[in-house]
């Protein structure tokens, strides 16, 4: 079961502009709120701090600009091997 995804607008905006960002900000972290580009940063932590300063504690989108997006895998969860009792 996945959670509700509240950053769909920002994700779509990013995908729409991804090639432009790859040309300008490859490897950096871009900050997006709604359909507004709010800057590029060297680290994710810097982008989060800037987002908090600009937008407060509201949802905003931070994404590293890479050719291939990162994927997270959890073999233990995927295989369902975590339910353990003695």
């Amino acid at each position: 079961m996945s959670e509700q995804i509240p950053l769909q607008t920002e994700l779509e905006y990013f995908e729409k502009h991804k090639q432009e960002y790859l040309n300008l900000y490859k490897g950096q972290f871009v900050l997006i709120k709604g359909e507004e580009f709010a800057g590029s940063f060297t680290t994710e932590a810097e982008a989060y701090k800037a987002g908090l300063e600009k937008f407060g504690n509201t949802p905003f989108f931070i994404k590293q600009v890479l050719d291939n997006d990162e994927t997270a895998s959890y073999p233990a969860l995927t295989a369902g091997v975590l339910n353990v009792r003695l």
């Binding site: 949802p59 905003f60 959890y74 233990a76």
Partner: protein, 161 residues
């Protein structure tokens, strides 16, 4: 350098306790964890005189198969932390989009604290270890910061940062 030592024991025939490779093998390297809001958000709250939400404490599993650490998603929502990104996770139900949250981990048995720019908000409902709800998986992003020693034949593990 701070070190967490995990010792897994069982009752021996004389009624005493002895280290147990079997118990460690069953549970895996688990430890108590406290999940709280990221430090930069805590600083913002403090400057605005907003009370800090209480950390959530529970069981975490060190998972060398996990690239990024993850936290049970509702915990981050309940702490008032908003998502900052989306990642595709490979789950039992196939690929799924999951939120990324900044977070702060504390291991109460040590003075190890880690501030994350992002962890994955996963659904860990039903992930039970020894009757306790798992609230986090400690992934290789944390392991990259220190030294993990898993002594399976003795029934211990240690993690140092």
């Amino acid at each position: 350098m701070a070190t967490y030592n995990g010792l897994f024991t069982e009752t021996d025939p004389s009624g005493g306790q002895r280290l147990s490779p079997t118990v460690l093998a069953h549970f895996g390297p688990i430890l108590q964890i406290s999940v709280s809001i990221p430090q930069v958000l805590a600083a913002l709250y403090t400057s605005l005189q907003i009370p800090l939400p209480s950390p959530v404490t529970g069981t975490a599993l060190i998972d060398t198969g996990a690239m990024k650490s993850c936290v049970h998603g509702p915990i981050m929502s309940n702490l008032g932390v908003n998502p900052i990104g989306i990642i595709t996770s490979l789950t039992a139900a196939g690929p799924a989009l999951q939120n990324l949250y900044p977070a702060h981990f504390t291991f109460p048995a040590t003075n190890i604290e880690i501030d994350f720019s992002s962890v994955v908000g996963s659904d860990l409902s039903g992930q039970i270890i020894n009757g306790q709800q798992l609230i986090a998986l400690i992934g290789r992003d944390v392991l990259s910061l220190g030294i993990l020693i898993y002594n399976g034949s003795l029934g211990t593990f240690s993690f140092s940062i």
